[in-house]
């Protein structure tokens, strides 16, 4: 089980969290202007990175707030967690 550092509550077991997929995907500002390719990208295409992945988590059974994390998908090692609205911190590979 992963230990995840909620930016609001501190380190807690994975069971308290829900996963929210890739982070920093902005909802289209003018949905009517999007063509089919853009919609496909927004709805379905994900980086699926093997390496450092910026992703959303929600501390569902704790403070219930969303936050973002940088995790290395080759090891599941968390490099950083940060609040929604903040930029991903600079990290060096472990």
């Amino acid at each position: 089980m992963l230990i995840i550092n909620c930016p609001y509550c501190g380190a807690r077991p994975e069971l308290e969290f829900a996963y929210g997929g890739q982070a920093h995907i902005d909802r289209p500002v003018q949905p009517a202007d999007l063509n089919d390719e853009d919609w496909t990208g927004y709805l379905y295409l994900r980086e699926n990175t093997k390496g450092i992945h910026a992703e959303r988590w929600r501390h569902l059974h704790g403070c219930a707030r969303f936050f973002n994390a940088l995790r290395d998908t080759r090891t599941d090692h968390f490099l950083a967690t940060y609040k929604v609205g903040e930029k991903a911190p600079e990290v060096t590979r472990p």
Binding site: M1, L2, E14, L15, L43, Y44, L45, R46, E55, T73
Partner: protein
Amino acid sequence: MQRFSALSLLRHGLGRHQGWKPQWRNAQPKPGYDAIIVGGGGHGLGAAYYLAKVHGITNVAVLEKGWIGGGNTGRNTTIIRSNYLFDESAALYDHALQLWEGLSQELNYNVMFSQRGVMMLAHNIHDIQVFKRHVHANRINGVDNEWLTPEQAQEFCPSLNIDPNVRYPVLGAALQRRGGTARHDAVAWGYARAADALGVDIIENCEVTGIRRDANGAVLGVETTRGFIGSRKVGVSAAGHTSVVMGMADVRLPLESYPLQALVSEPVKPIFPCVVMSNTIHAYMSQSDKGELVIGAGTDIYTSYTQRGGLHIATHTLEAICELFPQFRRMRMLRNWGGIVDVTPDRSPIIAKTPVKGLYVNCGWGTGGFKATPGAAHLFAHTIAKDEPHPINAPYTIERFRDGFMIDEAAAAAVAH
């Protein structure tokens, strides 16, 4: 190829079994091929076999970064069935099931395909409605599937607990009698041996690290850890690593890779005659010929390439097994492991051409592609050889997500194995 038969067994027995040869050559990469398959799982090896056998394209290489069958092919719980809801799915999975039925003969290799029946348990009203809908849809499509009462389910699988006073009581079941299991390694080895005999080079320890293209973007070959290998046709069948390989040609796919786990118990005498699946409480189980109970757990909630999963996921499954089959409560688990499965938004695969000329992809089989191995391989070979899909895999494009023609087994099956 040394053929297997009772006579050859006898003959080699007389020679104290010293005369058996390796079943495929340890091939070294040639500078170029007519077609290259990336990924030596069952799907990739099978595609190479059908390219040679059905389409006469024998100058083919299968490039595998590790050892053949070391990916999900060798890690799965081997459940085979074809009772999927939609017409496109029934056609695809039953095509595979029909090929399974003749596969040991076709390959002259015992893949231990055992049609012992796959029974899916219903635990609530929603399950009953969904499974009955499946039964009717399957029968219209000529796919066998029948509805059982709890008593009939217990008759089919005597260890099943149908006590109504449990957390998730068994309210009925859907049974596909033609479903069952096969020996996963044998599938990889059987295809490898048969493909090799037709001239296919199977090259292990050869990781594809790049895809080389000409000025117009068409495929020229692949960069590998063993040097450049040329080919105008490259078929990618890399399961959990598809996004990584296709990214080398800048093709983005609607895939996410998740760890999926399985575990086996200590071996015991034959006690469990069929395959039982419970989607609602997420457990599925069968007994291998060695005697181990083979148990499948769920995926982790996050994407990962670690080939291991959280212990709480396996624990959850074991709790369900203990409730459904109380007699297994004191059994010890021997081993557990994980594989990385590539999941699409609609939980249906992609077997298709790509925007890059000469590049083909077979992926998105997620948690349930072992059952499709012969079918997927056969259709992928057709797509590569003809540069156009077979009618059965024509709906399984990348563009279906853009065009809204999804084959939404995600909603239909909830869990797919």
